[in-house]
């Protein structure tokens, strides 16, 4: 891959709930993460963005996000389906995907990991905990983790 050093690191956040979106963004900013946060509202839009089609046709496919924060309960196309799609294409197979969701149901955990999620994080109700979680998350995936 050439020239990733010049490209800015960004996060793709797939979240349909405005409240959660605001809280997540706020938490990231509070953690001094200044990178761009791209937001898609549903599964279809997320896939369009990732595969550079539809409204996102002109996007550079090599400019991949550092990490995809994926909610599970999404309109149009479900979060797990998005994950499956991501993992099924050669170009996006290695994209880091963190499932960020309210559900702690074991079935979702199992399905998420078996479909190839890199991480599974439960959104806590407690604000402080939530902020801490998001900050740790952001620091790890944006600063520490190396991607292709």
């Amino acid at each position: 891959m050439q020239g990733t050093l010049n490209r800015t690191k960004y996060i793709l956040l797939v979240e349909d709930n405005k409240d959660d979106e605001d809280l997540t963004v706020r938490a990231l900013r509070k953690g001094n993460i200044v990178n761009e946060i791209v937001i898609t509202r549903d599964g279809a839009e997320a896939l369009d963005f990732i595969f550079c089609r539809g409204p996102h046709q002109g996007r550079d496919p090599h400019h991949r996000p550092q990490v995809v924060l994926l909610d599970l309960k999404l309109p149009k196309i479900d979060g797990l389906e998005v994950l499956a799609k991501i993992r099924s294409e050669e170009t996006t197979k290695t994209l880091p995907v963190v499932i960020l969701t309210s559900s702690r149901e074991e079935s979702d955990l199992i399905r998420g990991y078996s479909l190839g999620a890199n991480s599974y994080i439960c959104k806590p109700v407690d604000m402080n905990q939530f902020t801490d979680a998001i900050q740790q998350l952001g620091l790890y995936w944006l600063v520490l983790n190396e991607i292709i």
């Binding site: 409240d19 959660d20 309210s102 702690r104 149901e105 109700v125 407690d126 604000m127 939530f130």
Partner: protein, 667 residues
């Protein structure tokens, strides 16, 4: 094992009684009925040997002790050789008679004979013992040997019951005694029954009569039993009637012969007389033929009569009379013939005209009539008896068959009824099963709906909750200045409430997940779990000084995950409610009561008022305020559900401020 010992004991008893009978001349012990063949004492010895071997076989369960092995071997060889020799003796006339040699000296032991069938059965018994000794796995051969002996001797026993003496006196079955036959059946039943495969054994009658599920079939069985008894009784009665019938027929024929002979006697005399007369009239020598024939026949018949009268002394005198007078008559006839030959017709005619001939004849007729009248009367009586027996036999056959047919018809009806009922019952069972399957399906559907409900709860309820808590926090952080102290306090309470709601939702979800969980049983070390969890609690709160006691090696059969949650609840509670004590004490142990193991978690914490102990395990029930001790009130409800899923129970005792003890059992 028990059949062997019982059978051996029975045989010992019977054979000992028979030997006693021989020694003391008590015939009933030896042949039961006088006309039946007696059991020879040598046979009794053979049975002692066999019964002893059978006992030896029953004592040794798997491996024979050596002396029993040797004894059985000796017995087997003796029986085989002895049986073969005696069997062969019937065909080859060997001289040595073991019977006479051993028992001949005692006056009572005269003429004991060992039937060839008996010898054969002893031979087979010996073979059975030897097969069992050297090839115990050849159970089919042993079964066949025993089967042959049992069937043969059972047939002989049946022939005794039916009075069919022709069977037990057939050449091969010559005179096997009823005691011998019975003992063979008992012996081989005891030998082979324990090893008979289940499929060949008769079904358990006791279970059939006692089991509730077969109650409907019992009337049919009883009717069939009655049919069987009627048929058996009727056939035995008919058989004996037939025997008697045959006897009366032979009696009638005997008496008829007698009457005929008496007539022949008279006829022969008349023939002789007419022959003489013819000769006197014609002078032809040929006319004398009836005379000679008559004389010959007379002599023959008289001889037979004389033989018969030896058994009937009341007619001796009459027969003597006939003899004497006949002699006179024949002499007279002879004299007349000679007279004719020598002196001519006139002289003979004069002699015939004398009364002597007629007188003699009259006397002879009288004597003959004397006997004949009795015999004719007897004949009539015997014919009457014969008729009676015929009627009896026919009646018993007819009535027996009719009764049996009637009862069989009744049984057929019962059978049809029982089958119909069984069909109905099966139909009902099928219907119930179908309904059950439908209900199960419904329950599964409801369960699925419950699962998706929980899923929605966990996902969808939390999201707005998070927004509430989140934005309240944002307010607190970013807009602190806009709010006064009062406002801030209110906000904090909103945040606390939403956090509590989140915990409540978690509690509900945990509880429902417990119920949906399938209990998997495996060995779980409660001691190990308890120690791990207490360690964690200490780790999370290192400042606390707690006295911990965990009884080691407490293991149960249960679901590892559920039990972990369970202990977590109890120990967490103990930890929580002792947090205000300086020196906290938590103990986990067990004890036995009435053979059941009871576990407990004891602490010396805040305790609770026993008056409210009913509410302890209720969902969301709390006995303390949130300020005193934080909690959802779901922990103990969860604990009880887990314990109940394992088939156990949980209860508690406490005194306020003196701590609490939670007892529980698992199945």
């Amino acid at each position: 094992m028990i059949p062997r010992q019982v059978s051996a004991l029975l045989i010992f008893l019977i054979s000992t009684a028979a030997m006693g009978g021989w020694f003391y001349g008590i015939s009933v012990l030896v042949n039961i009925r006088a006309e039946w063949p007696a059991m020879a004492p040598l046979v009794a010895v053979g049975f002692f040997l066999s019964a002893a071997a059978s006992l030896g076989r029953s004592v040794a369960s798997e491996k024979y002790p050596v002396w029993i092995q040797r004894g059985t071997f000796a017995a087997g060889v003796l029986l085989v050789l002895g049986g073969a020799y005696i069997f062969g003796r019937h065909f080859f006339a060997w001289s040595f008679d073991p019977n006479a040699w051993t028992f001949g000296k005692n006056p009572h032991f005269m003429d004991p004979e060992v039937a060839p069938a008996t010898a054969l059965c002893f031979l087979l018994t010996g073979l059975w013992l030897l097969t069992d000794l050297f090839r115990p796995s050849w159970s089919f051969l042993k079964f066949l040997l025993s089967l042959f002996v049992i069937l043969t001797c059972a047939l002989i026993l049946v022939s005794y019951v039916y009075g069919a003496s022709s069977l037990y006196q057939l050449p091969l079955f010559v005179k096997m005694s009823v005691l011998t036959a019975a003992q063979f059946v008992i012996l081989h039943f005891g030998l082979s029954y324990p090893e008979t495969p289940e499929a060949l054994r008769p079904p358990s009658l006791l279970r059939f009569l006692r089991d509730k599920s077969t109650a409907g079939e019992r009337p049919l069985f009883i009717t069939l039993l009655i049919v069987f008894s009627v048929f058996l009784g009727a056939s035995i009665f008919a058989s004996h009637s037939l025997n008697r019938l045959v006897q009366t027929i032979s009696l009638v024929s005997e008496t008829q012969t007698r009457v005929d002979e008496l007539d022949q006697l008279l006829l022969s005399l008349l023939n002789a007389e007419s022959g003489q007369r013819g000769y006197l009239l014609t002078g032809e020598y040929d006319c004398l033929t009836p005379y000679f024939e008559g004389a010959e026949e007379h002599a023959r018949v008289l001889a037979r009569l004389r033989e018969w009268v030896q058994g009937h002394p009341e007619y001796q005198e009459a027969v003597n009379e006939i003899d004497r007078n006949s002699e006179v008559k024949f002499r007279t006839l002879a004299n007349n013939i000679i007279l004719f030959r020598t002196k001519g017709f006139e002289a003979a005619k004069k002699a015939v005209q004398t009364d002597l001939g007629i007188e003699t004849m009259k006397k002879i007729r009288q004597s003959i009539a004397f006997i004949k009248n009795d015999q004719v009367a007897l004949l009539r009586q015997q014919k009457g008896e014969n008729q009676t027996e015929v009627h009896k036999t026919v009646a018993s056959l007819t009535i027996g068959s009719f009764l049996a047919a009637l009862l069989l018809f009744a049984s057929m009806n019962l059978y049809v009824k029982t089958s119909l009922r069984r069909g109905e019952v099966e139909e009902k069972v099928r219907h119930l099963n179908h309904r059950l399957e439908k209900k199960i399906h419904e329950v599964e559907v409801v369960n699925k709906e419950l699962e998706s409900f929980s899923y929605s709860v966990s996902h969808d309820l939390r999201t707005p909750l998070r927004a509430m808590a989140g934005f309240s926090n944002i307010l607190l952080e970013d807009h602190l200045q806009s709010l006064n102290e009062e406002g801030q306090k209110h906000l904090k309470r909103i945040i606390a409430a939403s956090e509590r709601m989140s915990r409540l939702i978690n509690g509900i979800l945990d509880l429902s997940r417990i119920s949906r969980h399938e209990v998997q049983r495996e060995r779980v070390s409660l001691s190990q779990l308890a120690r791990q969890q207490l360690d964690e609690l200490c780790h999370m709160d290192p400042e606390r000084v707690v006295d911990l006691t965990v009884e080691p090696e407490l293991e149960v059969q249960g679901d590892a995950m559920l039990l972990a949650v369970f202990l977590q609840n109890l120990l967490g509670n103990a930890w929580k409610f002792t947090s205000k004590k300086e020196r906290a004490k938590i103990e986990f142990g067990s004890f036995l009561r009435h053979g059941q193991r009871i576990f407990f978690v004891r602490d010396n914490g805040a305790g609770f008022d026993m008056a409210y102990s009913e509410k302890l395990f209720g969902t969301f029930q709390r006995l303390h305020t949130e300020q005193e001790f934080a909690g959802t009130g779901v922990g103990l409800a969860t604990a009880r559900r887990i314990v109940r899923l394992h088939g156990g129970d949980i209860w508690a005792e406490s005194k306020v401020n003196e701590g609490a003890t939670f007892y529980f059992t698992l199945s």
